[in-house]
């Protein structure tokens, strides 16, 4: 009888230890995936930030006109931002950023609409940004930081973007939101 109890106790202890070790291992794996996803989202966001910042600083560079179009949707997202700048040959070139709806994902009952950011030069595709943006907004600011709709009084351009990285099973999905923003001061807006 004693032997039977000993065996039962040892099986219980071994099972508990095994369960804890397996659960810890699974949790560690999930944590590693989450870290990788966060790093990927951040890298992609900062890559987009790099070219967007240098591009917007050239608004009106070498051209008589500066900002041509700035259009928003009902969610205050910038769907089109077009501006003039000089191309490599010294001719005026119209650069446009276009925000297009792609797909929507549902996480914990919340529907998140995703957008793709396209960039065109003279109407031809020329680069672009993430296709998993949940928010993209370019705002013109006057010198005192207040928003303005008038290009003549605009001195600063404020950009706000949120890049979303969904991961996990469709039934148990999580997402990492990477926020980014900058305010640039294109020299051409001051003249």
């Amino acid at each position: 009888m004693q032997l039977l109890f000993d065996n039962i106790a040892s099986v219980l202890v071994a099972s508990t230890v095994l369960l804890v070790v397996v659960a810890t291992n699974l949790n560690a794996q999930r944590s590693a995936v989450e870290s990788s996803v966060a790093y990927a989202a951040k890298t992609q966001t900062l890559s987009m930030a790099d070219y967007l910042e240098s591009d917007l600083l050239l608004v009106g560079n070498g051209t008589a006109d500066t900002i041509q179009t700035i259009a928003s949707n009902e969610a205050d997202q910038t769907t089109q931002f077009s501006f003039w700048r000089m191309d490599n040959t010294g001719s005026p070139m119209l650069v446009s950023y276009l925000l297009t709806q792609t797909t929507s994902i549902e996480i914990d009952g919340e529907t998140v609409q995703l957008y793709r950011l396209d960039r065109t030069e003279g109407g031809q595709p020329a680069g672009g940004g993430s296709s998993t943006l949940s928010h993209f907004e370019i705002t013109m600011l006057a010198a005192d930081g207040t928003t303005t709709a008038d290009v003549a009084t605009a001195r600063l351009l404020r950009v706000r973007a949120v890049n979303v990285y969904p991961f996990g099973d469709p039934d148990n999905m999580n997402m990492f939101r990477s926020h980014w923003g900058i305010t640039v001061r294109p020299p051409s807006l001051e003249t």
Binding site: S10, V17, V20, T24, S31, E137, H179, G181, T183
Partner: protein, 129 residues
């Protein structure tokens, strides 16, 4: 009994391993969380520096020294508010703070958030006379 002690030891090791992994995971979350706040604070501080540079004359910069502002990083209708502290000091040609009046001032803005004990970002700009 030796086997009882060994079983206890095995359970202790498993429990410690689980706690260790859980702590590392929390630290990883905290680092990612702070990194997001730093990027948002960065945007808010750089914007404030541009606005001050555009709206304040060289002579008027000193009046901003020590001022505290609240500025938000807004995404649509949501926003996260940061506390900004402005510091203005005279600096020499090497950027070293100077006790005497020079021909350039260093505008420095630090952003903090109640969630974090230390400043998230600090940016400076030297403005010449």
């Amino acid at each position: 009994m030796p086997q009882t002690l060994l079983a206890f030891l095995a359970m202790m090791i498993a429990a410690l391993s689980a706690i260790n992994q859980y702590t590392a995971q929390l630290q990883s979350y905290e680092a990612a969380y702070r990194s997001e706040f730093e990027l948002m604070a960065n945007a808010v501080v750089l914007e404030e520096i541009e606005i001050i540079d555009l709206t304040t004359s060289y002579g008027g910069l000193e009046s901003l020294n020590g001022s505290e502002l609240k500025r938000s990083f807004e995404i649509g209708a949501d926003g996260i508010e940061f506390d900004l502290t402005v510091t203005v000091t005279f600096v020499d040609e090497f950027g070293t703070p100077s006790a005497t009046e020079t021909t350039q001032k260093e505008l420095s803005i630090a952003a903090t958030h109640p969630r974090f004990a230390t400043p998230l970002v600090t940016h400076t700009r030297v403005i010449a006379q």
